[in-house]
């Protein structure tokens, strides 16, 4: 008898961890995603890829394993540097009286000529920046945009979905109307409209730097799927016994919604959240490529691809390869992890 009594129900999250461990694909994917997260944390702390914007190599420096490849662009840049001295325009230049002041001010500034290396581990871009560093920094930006935007969209979608599903009646009618309005505009047009407004409007200077423009665009257009799912779950749960019991002991509506029901629908939210991360990263890459995403003083996988398009024509393929590989590995691992997560959380498969 004792053995039977010992069986306490397993905590849902420990059960999830156990099932994920048993799923080999899921475990490997989790490992890869964790490695990316460590890499991002290091990059944020400045331990990794800190000098991604420093021109450490010659233009289009060859990758180390292709050191002997002819690099015409770098040779050309070098020739331009030693083109002889500037012709003397002192007699005709109206700015000539300022020459001495400029010379003095130039003298005050210290400039060090950096030794530019001919090869870099994974090659250099047009300005001789290290492509590997750029890819690491770009991973940080792209993944951060995807995750932050997905969290914002989840917050909006969950809140509205919970209100709509829990209260029903006119609250639901109003929010359903809002949902219909947002879904009847093709997503890409809504994205473009927002981009146009945020670029030229009074808010443009507010979001000029940082990732917030693209996060707002993604969150504002991407909350509808989450809303639909959460609403359906809340409609199902609001009249279950445990919620009625909570009501009977005097739990407020807010408490029933977010203390009692929310943990029981959190698995649905979690899976949808990870799907959103994948989708948002893809959209961010496209927006940044088009110049509507992260600002130009940041690097993301999208801005790298934008540069790579022109580089490919002159045979410099390494930036394209770096951005593609970093992105493909992360998204594959994350998608597989999402699949495993969904299987592990699905009560039908237990």
């Amino acid at each position: 008898m004792a053995a039977v009594l010992d069986v306490t129900p397993e905590n849902a999250w420990t059960a999830l961890a156990r099932r994920l461990r048993q799923d080999r694909v899921g475990a490997v994917s989790l490992g890869i995603v964790a490695m990316y997260l460590v890499m991002i944390l290091f990059a944020m702390a400045g331990l990794l890829a800190r000098g991604w914007s420093v021109e450490v190599g010659v233009p289009y420096a060859n990758p180390s394993f292709l050191g002997d490849r002819p690099n015409l662009e770098a040779a050309l840049a070098k020739r331009m540097e030693h083109k002889g001295k500037v012709p003397d325009l002192r007699d005709i230049d109206p700015l000539a009286p300022k020459y001495e002041e400029w010379a003095k001010r130039t003298g005050e500034l210290k400039s060090t000529e950096r030794e530019r290396s001919l090869t870099l581990p994974w090659g250099g871009d047009r300005w001789g920046r290290d492509v590997l560093d750029k890819a690491i920094k770009g991973s940080q930006v792209s993944i951060a945009v995807g995750v932050v935007a997905a969290l914002c969209a989840t917050l909006i979608g969950t809140l509205l979905g919970a209100l709509s599903g829990f209260y029903g009646r006119w609250v639901s009618d109003v929010l359903e109307w809002l949902y219909n309005v947002f879904t009847s505009i093709p997503a890409i047009l809504l994205v473009f409209t927002l981009a146009a407004v945020l670029r030229s409007g009074p808010l443009a200077s507010l979001f000029a730097s940082g990732i917030w423009t693209v996060v707002i665009i993604l969150a504002f257009t991407g909350w509808t799927g989450m809303y639909r799912l959460v609403r359906a779950e809340y409609m199902k749960h609001r009249s279950r016994e445990y919620v009625l019991a909570a009501q009977a002991i005097g739990a407020s509506a807010a408490s029933r919604m977010f203390v009692h029901i929310l943990p029981n629908v959190s698995h649905v939210i979690l899976v949808q959240l990870s799907l959103l991360v994948v989708a948002f990263i893809k959209v961010e890459v496209i927006l940044s490529f088009l110049g509507l995403g992260v600002p130009i003083d940041m690097v993301s996988w999208g801005t790298m691809l934008a540069e790579a398009q022109n580089e490919l024509i002159i045979g410099k393929w390494w930036q394209l390869a770096a951005a593609t590989v970093f992105m493909a590995i992360f998204l594959t691992a994350f998608s597989m992890l999402t699949d495993s997560l969904r299987d592990a959380l699905d009560p039908k498969l237990r």
Binding site: W177, L178, N180, V181, F182, S184, I185, P186, I188, L189, L190, F192, T193, L194, A195, A196, V197, L198, R199, S200, G201, P202, L203, A204, K282, V285, I286, F289, L290, G291, L292, W301, G302, L305, A308, Q309, L312, I313, L320, A323, T324, M327, A328, I329, F330, L331, T332, S335, M336
Partner: protein, 301 residues
């Protein structure tokens, strides 16, 4: 549908009103005197209260008269009519090609479900979906257009047939290739859902061969969700190809709206957004009506 439409109009109007830039400032340019700006404001009715402006906005929508583009001075209605054919020349073949490739592929994979082949194809699909669409276009344009020279790198002509035969094939093939992986994955799951049902067990019990079951019984039933999915893709034919249009210099609607965003050309953005929302709603309505014909179990409320 009417309240939704009203919502779309209000959303677009207030987005531009509250968060957009001052149209007079954009139109007048960097160097403009206060009188010029005031004159433009009067002309556009910007000195009126917001409800009058909303009225002007509604009149523009109902009369299809959006005036001219702010930047190119082209009639907005003219932009619509001249750009749409190019877009459709690309998107409709993509839609057809994707469906005709994905359905058989999904059926084959579903036939070999659970085997190594199935798992390998599915893993390849996930990996293929993880590579950005941009990479496919960049590499495809480089390899097939630039290196091998099988297709023109970019371009467009005035003749429909020349476009379809010379300029459109490369973008169409690239898009169809990219669409193949997610659609195969989705349709496979539709086929697998059906293979678990009772009528399939009955068909097996009476000794039908597995290919015959798939072809005759499973396919017909799985086509219902497949058709649903395709009808959901139809609204995408109007601007869904904007990336292809930008890369291949196709003078289509998607490229036009991207250019409009870059130039802060508000009338073009507003017109395209509202009319495509209306079009999307009409297509969805038409799809719903068609369903009740195709499947008598579905009833319109």
């Amino acid at each position: 549908m009417v309240p939704t439409l009203a919502g779309v109009v209000l959303l677009i109007f207030f987005l531009f009103k509250l968060f957009g830039g001052d149209p007079a400032q954009i139109l007048a340019g960097q160097v403009a005197s206060q009188e010029q700006i005031d004159a433009i404001r009067r002309e556009l009715g910007l000195d009126q209260p917001w409800y009058v402006q909303l009225g002007i906005f509604l009149r523009e929508i109902l009369t299809f008269d959006w005036g001219k583009s702010w930047i190119t001075r082209e009639q907005v209605s003219h932009i619509f009519l001249t750009r749409l054919p190019a877009t459709l020349t690309i998107t409709i073949p993509i839609l057809l090609l994707e469906a005709s490739l994905a359905i058989p592929t999904a059926m084959i994979v579903a036939y070999y479900r659970g085997t190594l082949f199935d798992r390998a194809v599915m893993s390849i699909c996930v990996a293929a979906m993880s590579i950005s669409f941009l990479v496919y276009i960049i590499v495809g344009q480089y390899v097939f257009g630039f290196q091998l020279g099988w297709f023109p790198v970019q371009g467009w002509s005035d003749s429909f047939w020349k476009n379809l035969v010379t300029y459109a094939p490369l973008p169409i093939l690239l898009a169809a290739l990219v669409g193949l992986a997610p659609q195969t994955r989705l349709y496979r799951s539709f086929f697998l859902d059906e293979t678990k049902s009772d009528y399939v067990r009955t068909a097996r019990a009476k000794g039908l061969s597995e290919p015959a079951i798939l072809r005759k019984h499973v396919l017909r039933n799985a086509l219902v969700p497949v058709v649903t999915n395709i009808s959901l893709l139809i609204p995408g034919v109007f601007v869904g190809s904007f990336l292809l249009e930008i890369f291949f210099s196709v003078p289509g609607l998607g490229r036009e709206i991207y250019l409009a965003v870059n130039r802060s050309d508000y009338p073009v953005i507003q017109a395209v957004t509202i009319y495509l929302a209306v079009l999307t709603m009409l297509i969805n309505l038409a799809a719903d009506v068609l369903y009740s014909f195709v499947d008598p179990r579905i009833q319109l409320r």
